[in-house]
């Protein structure tokens, strides 16, 4: 079994493309998304003032607010910019003043409040209650803090299913499985060797991604590293089992690719890798929560962001383990050895 696992690893690291997709790609993805959604503090809101009598006076008042940037625009340009989202709100001077904006956009709602407050104060409205802002940045509240555990989960899923699925089907296609059957090798050893070799790659994957997030974006692991390691090991076993199940019958690479996408795509979308699954309708949530990737992502986030202890993660970890165990047992039963 040790030799089998060793061969698996050798075959893998001698395939430069596979190495990139498993280790390089998630890091590139984290880097790109981390840059795109980096927190630079709330930027200035772009506001348009439609050309008309008194337009420049309104613009000057609005510009005096540190949170607004006002531009005077002619009617046609103003409408175009509002439609394409380059300004959050249009002020049409006159009596009454008109605010034109899309009420479903968060940004526009904010602009409406700020613009109104600034204009009303300029005309002499007094604040009746004294207030003070206490700005706090909660640790782990940035997008990248949310993203890194999600990418880790997605990566464990992807490498488990791809790594196991493709090599099983390839061995079957090359009649290598049949050749192994002609030796006294135990069948369970063959399947377990995949899980064992996954364990070794797992260390590299987790260290690379977590290390990367920590170095570049300062994403810290608030929980214990031992808990994180335990969760990733469980997740990796579980997905390797799922990978075996996916590959247990397929005869061709094309066939298994389709099955893999069928398994992975819904989870990528539903399981809260890139955005929170709380956005899905309430009726879907129990189903989404039963997916192994959702459970794994929840557990990873709980440890990395909230520093949760392993004892509080019973439910998600039980879901992860159940998926792995059930698929491994089914895979062993229905596996096509030739």
């Amino acid at each position: 079994m040790y030799q089998l696992a060793l061969s698996r690893m050798r075959e893998f690291y001698r395939e430069p493309e596979a190495v990139f997709w498993v280790f390089g790609f998630p890091i590139v993805l984290a880097f790109a998304l981390g840059l795109a959604f980096r927190n630079t503090g709330p930027g200035k809101l772009q506001v348009g003032v439609v050309a008309g009598p008194g337009d420049s006076a309104v613009a000057v008042v609005l510009d005096s607010s540190p949170r607004l940037l006002a531009t005077v625009l002619d009617t046609a340009t103003a409408r175009l910019r509002l439609r394409t989202g380059r300004v959050a709100l249009l002020v049409i001077p006159g009596d009454p003043l008109v605010y034109r904006y899309d009420s479903t956009r968060t940004e526009s709602g904010l602009a409406r409040l700020e613009v109104d407050a600034v204009l009303q104060r300029a005309r002499g409205r007094k604040d009746l209650v004294a207030v003070r802002d206490d700005r706090a940045v909660a640790p782990g509240s940035r997008y990248i803090d949310f993203l890194i555990p999600g990418l880790l989960g997605m990566n464990l899923l992807g490498s488990g299913i791809w790594g196991v699925g493709f090599s099983v089907v390839q061995a079957r296609q090359r009649k290598l499985l049949k050749r192994y059957m002609a030796t006294p090798m135990r069948r369970s050893h063959y399947l377990l060797s995949f899980i064992l070799s996954r364990l070794v790659f797992l260390i590299v994957e987790v260290v690379a991604l977590v290390g990367f997030g920590w170095l570049l974006f300062g994403v810290a692991v608030r929980g214990s590293f031992a808990t994180l390691a335990g969760i990733t090991i469980l997740g990796s076993f579980s997905f390797a089992g799922l990978g075996l199940l996916v590959a247990s019958r397929a005869k061709t690479i094309e066939g298994v690719s389709g099955l893999m996408n069928l398994v992975m795509l819904p989870m990528w979308i539903l399981s809260g890798t890139f955005f929170s699954y709380a956005r899905f309708p309430d009726a879907m949530i129990p189903f989404v929560k039963a997916l192994p990737l959702t459970a794994l992502n929840d557990a990873l986030r709980a440890v990395m962001i909230d520093g949760a202890a392993v004892t509080s993660l019973g439910t998600p970890l039980a879901i992860v383990v159940a998926w792995g165990a059930v698929s491994f047992v089914i895979a062993l039963k229905i596996f096509r050895w030739r």
Binding site: Q3, L6, R10, L176, R179, A182
Partner: protein, 295 residues
């Protein structure tokens, strides 16, 4: 679909037994049933005195076998010695990697990746994987198909040495020449049935003659020529051959002059004439009326 029907074979210890036949004759199905890889619909198989069983008994039996399959492609990215180390790890007792490299003369290639090997070297590696377990019984499924003559001779030499050390071999081939050289006994198969069984010498002798004359005439064979040819001394059988006639004869030195005299007397012009010792190919043609290679 039934690929093989009504097969009854017994192979003795220390023997080299050949299953011979064209593609699609059922050789591979037969050997895979014997190897315990395909379950027969009916009938009994005993290997080294034991029937195939699932589990520990089956594994114990596999310890004693060496198997080379027809189409196995070993992992491209591994080196020769890594592949052998892997297969070695499956067996309780086995040759060391170096020993088995020496058996198949792949010592210089030990560090080469499988993908860089030539066809002959890959095949020797496949045989090495079968030999690594120090088997008592070696199964080879078309070990030399598609190889150049030199590689074939190298493989024959490996098989010969294995037998010299007391091993039993069961091989399939569609090269009659290979069967004649290597095998003590052969079974000729066609359409899933054994159509002849015996030593190569016995099978050739069953033709009733040792030589074959094949000839063609420039204007084709006239119908009224058949009877006079059957009457030529020493001719035991007349069959249509490739573009002409094929005669099996007992004594070449008597029949050939008589045949030439007959043709001259009839003023028929020869376009080709060849003679050879009767081979298993001729046995196959005699039994099926087909050339082995056409099928």
């Amino acid at each position: 679909m039934v690929a093989v029907a009504g097969l009854d074979l017994a192979v003795g210890t220390g023997e080299c037994f050949g299953l011979l036949g064209p593609n699609g004759a059922g050789k591979t199905t037969t050997i895979e049933i014997l190897e315990g890889l395909t379950a027969p619909d009916s009938g009994d198989v005993e290997i080294l005195g034991t029937p195939w069983r699932e589990g520990a008994a089956g594994r114990a039996l596999r310890e004693r076998l060496g198997i080379q399959l027809q189409e196995t492609q070993l992992a491209d990215k591994l080196t020769v010695s890594e592949v052998l180390a892997l297969f070695r790890s499956f067996y309780r007792q086995s040759h060391t990697v170096e020993e088995v490299l020496a058996l198949v003369e792949l010592e210089e290639k030990r560090k080469a990746r499988v993908v860089t090997l030539s066809g002959g070297q890959k095949q020797r590696l496949a045989v090495a994987c079968a030999l690594v377990s120090k088997p008592e019984l070696l199964f080879l499924d078309e070990p030399t198909t598609g190889l150049d003559p030199q590689s074939r001779r190298q493989l024959w030499e490996i098989i010969r040495r294995f037998r010299a050390a007391g091993g039993t071999v069961l091989l399939t081939t569609h090269y009659m020449e290979e069967a004649e050289r290597l095998c003590d006994r052969v079974a000729i198969m066609d359409h899933g049935k054994v159509i002849a069984l015996g030593t190569p010498r016995e099978l050739i002798a069953s033709l009733g003659a040792e030589h074959v004359i094949e000839f063609a005439l420039s204007d084709g064979i006239p119908d009224d020529l058949m009877d006079p040819i059957r009457g030529v001394g020493g001719v035991t059988a007349v069959r249509p051959g490739s573009g002409g006639l094929s005669l099996t004869v007992t004594e070449l030195h008597r029949t050939l002059p008589a045949l030439l005299a007959l043709l001259q007397q009839r003023r028929l012009e020869l376009s080709s004439l060849t003679t050879h010792h009767a081979t298993l190919d001729d046995v196959f043609v005699a039994l099926t009326g087909r050339q082995l290679r056409d099928t």
